[in-house]
């Protein structure tokens, strides 16, 4: 259908040329080899444009100041990227022998000249550029419209200073409508386990840097992948499970036509006799499209190891069952009593095999397996209570000590004792006051009646004025008592003085 449209377009071009449309003097084509591809199968998109040689020689006008072989501009922004496809780095027109410069999109590039095309009585010089893409997903891929632009004139004037000047410049263009491609997914059926995304047709070769080795000695195994396809995109074998070998690492290098993977390996024992064949799977899209698996040739190795001076462990399966049982299930010698520790196991049916896998539920439970403990939580739970505990103990000890001190007990009860003695029906205020002072100062009551009372009170921390008043008051009370007269001060006055003395002495004790 596409070719029919193109034929009709050419027919129109020949029969009905339109001034300024450019179709008379040039054409533009965009095509691919086929309309349908597989995912990751390389798609080469070709852009061809043809120019009427004689016309362009006589009538074309440069589009840009820069000197170019072809005074045309091709607008094909999709060459920078198409949705659903990954583009290759460079245009494939580079490197050809017969190339011409022109403008592609917004910059100069080169196109390769291919065979001329004769249309009617005109010869068109045909140029081609192409780019490879790799479809990344199945579906439909649209290649949008492309346009070829040029300018020409039919009348020119020769100017001594400016050279040939066009007098009737006309800008023209021709377009290609674009196309759509169908991208098929790779089939699931028949996909080998060795398939790692390679699409195309490939060959692989293995080479070893050394074939005579000691156990543990490292050497290089080089796999070289060549062929046509998505060489740069598939995953190369990891060789992590290569039997008898340890893999240190791998390095890859990519070139246009081959991909090289170098593995750093080491044999693990002297029993290793060869590097086994390495299998590689790919999908060949050529009919009949199918998966294929190729393999490298085994590489014989000579691996030297020291003679074994100890017994190797028995290979799996050749176990002395009775010895194993007696060792495993002895409850006297081993600390690990399997019979008791195995849940729901009959005494007669002793376990001789490992337990089964942990399944989804246990894995889900294991998501919250350990977690951690933050230092803050540890501090708050374990360490923080200790200062409070210690403070409480110190406080309680201090209180107990205070309670056990007789002087302290006397001092604490002095005021209440005065109230008791002074509150009776016939109070002996002299005695009550003297008892109070004695309790507070820690001396006998008789010692209070002395000229040194004021000094003692001052020494205990009472102010001089209060001490003098207290001493005078006691003197008056004692004189009144022994003189038979009534006390000159009432109980309230004495009580107030007791309060003052109590507060003053307590304040002093608090400071101490």
């Amino acid at each position: 259908m596409r070719h029919l449209c193109r034929f009709l377009g050419l027919l129109v071009f020949l029969i009905l040329p339109s001034e300024g449309s450019g179709e008379e003097y040039a054409f533009l084509e965009v095509d691919t080899v086929q309309d349908a591809y597989f995912v990751q199968e390389p798609v080469r998109v070709r852009v061809r444009f043809g120019l009427d040689a004689e016309f362009f020689k006589a009538s074309s006008i440069p589009l840009f100041h820069r000197r170019l072989d072809l005074s045309v501009q091709v607008l094909a922004p999709w060459l920078k990227g198409i949705d659903g496809m990954v583009r290759e780095g460079q245009l494939e027109s580079r490197g050809g022998r017969d190339t011409r410069t022109f403008v592609l999109n917004d910059g100069p590039t080169v196109a390769r000249r291919i065979d001329d095309r004769r249309i009617g009585d005109r010869v068109f010089e045909v140029y081609e550029i192409s780019r490879r893409f790799w479809p990344s997903e199945p579906g439909e891929v649209i290649i949008p419209e492309s346009t070829l632009c040029f300018a020409f004139a039919t009348k020119f004037a020769d100017d001594f200073l400016n050279g040939r000047r066009p007098l009737d410049r006309k800008d023209a263009s021709v377009s290609d409508a674009g196309m759509s491609l169908t991208i098929h997914p790779l089939p699931d059926s028949g996909r080998p386990s060795e398939f790692t995304g390679a699409v195309g047709r490939f060959f692989v070769q293995a080479d070893a840097s050394s074939t005579v080795l000691d156990v543990g000695e490292s050497f290089k195994l080089v796999l070289t992948f060549e062929g046509e396809g998505n060489l740069a995109f598939f995953e190369t074998p990891e060789l992590m499970d290569l039997s008898g070998f340890h893999r240190y690492g791998k390095i890859e290098t990519k070139e246009a036509s081959k991909r090289t993977v170098t593995y750093d390996l080491a044999p693990l024992s002297g029993e290793v006799g060869e590097i086994p064949a390495i299998r590689f799977g790919f999908f060949d899209p050529r009919p009949p499209a199918a998966y294929q698996v190729i393999s490298t040739d085994p590489i014989p190795l000579t691996v030297t190891s020291l003679a074994g001076e100890f017994t190797d462990p028995p290979p799996h399966g050749e176990i002395d069952q009775s010895a194993l049982e007696s060792e495993l299930f002895s409850s006297e010698e081993d600390g690990f009593d399997l019979e008791e520790d195995i849940p729901s196991v009959e005494k007669e049916a002793v376990r001789r095999d490992i337990y089964d896998l942990k399944t989804g539920g246990e894995i889900a439970a294991g998501r919250a397996e350990r977690g951690g403990v933050s230092p803050v939580a540890f501090f708050l739970v374990i360490l923080a209570p200790w200062p409070f505990f210690a403070s409480f103990l110190i406080w309680r000890r201090g209180r107990s000590r205070g309670r056990m001190d007789p002087r302290r007990v006397r001092a604490l009860t002095a005021s209440s004792k005065f109230q008791e003695l002074a509150g009776g029906p016939d109070p002996d205020l002299a005695r009550a006051f003297a008892e109070f002072l004695a309790d507070r100062l820690g001396d006998p009551a008789a010692a209070m009646i002395s000229k040194n009372l004021a000094a003692k009170l001052i020494a205990a921390g009472v102010s001089e004025e209060l001490a003098d008043r207290a001493s005078e008051q006691l003197g008056r009370l004692v004189d009144a008592r022994y003189g038979g007269d009534a006390p000159t001060s009432g109980i309230d006055t004495i009580g107030a003085m007791v309060g003052e003395l109590d507060a003053s002495l307590a304040e002093r004790e608090g400071e101490l």
């Binding site: 100890f310 490992i354 889900a364 977690g371 540890f378 103990l393």
Partner: protein, 230 residues
């Protein structure tokens, strides 16, 4: 969020595939699937490592199974099935299994608790002990309170050590046999030989060599011959 969900779905699908492969006897493929799940980091690694140990055992790679079981033991301490499998494989491979001391039995019991829960339990014990010390002046009650406090503090010390000062790093010999050398070079004198599956203490590590320490003094072995238990 969608990415996490998709990752979980993919992880679950891979686990199901791995389990199906295991049941069907495709142990190598099952192991590959479990390794993929482990490297994705989406699932709890303890049960996955346990399953990798099972796959390795079925494939006859006993040293590898010991290596995976020991790594799983860090994450699932006190798991009975795991301990049984590990002991069974060590017996099969010919290793002497040291009987559990009372101390290690207590450690195993403590390790079975999630750390947060254990911390809470210790806090409660300590609180009861301290309250008892406040109210009881003498007699069995005071002795009991002191005991509670000491037990709580011992547990807290153990917890702090395991959480923040994990101590030695172990490695399992995964090669069939390995020579222990006096220094990190293949030409130096051989001082000992280790069998597959043996667990050694790692004193030092470089890209290609590991220095081990044991009762015989230790030495250096190639890094690729051991799997570091982490």
């Amino acid at each position: 969020m969608i990415g996490i969900l998709l990752g979980l779905i993919v992880g679950v699908t891979s686990i199901c595939d791995a389990e199906c492969d295991y049941r069907d006897g495709r142990f190598a493929e099952s192991r590959r699937q479990f390794e993929k799940v482990l490297s994705s980091g989406e699932e709890a690694s303890g049960p996955i490592l346990y399953n990798l140990g099972n796959c390795s055992y079925r494939l006859g790679r006993l040293a590898d199974s010991i290596y995976y079981y020991r790594r799983a033991l860090i994450r699932l301490p006190g798991d009975r099935e795991l301990l049984f499998n590990l002991r069974l494989v060590e017996k099969e491979i010919g290793l002497e299994v040291a009987s559990d001391s009372h101390l290690s039995a207590i450690e195993t019991m403590l390790a079975a608790f999630p750390p947060g829960r254990l911390l809470g339990l210790l806090g409660i014990l300590q609180a009861f002990g301290l309250i008892g010390l406040v109210f009881f002046r003498n007699g069995w009650a005071r002795t009991g309170s002191i005991s509670l406090v000491l037990i709580a503090l011992s547990g807290a010390l153990w917890l702090a050590r395991t959480e923040w000062f994990p101590g030695r790093i172990d490695a399992v010999v995964i090669a069939d046999s390995v020579e222990v050398r006096a220094g990190p070079h293949p030409t130096l004198a051989v001082t000992d030989r280790l069998k597959a599956g043996r667990t050694v203490a790692v004193a030092e590590m470089s890209d290609r060599w590991v220095r081990i320490a044991d009762e015989d003094g230790g030495g250096w072995i190639p890094r690729f011959c051991v799997g570091v238990v982490d």
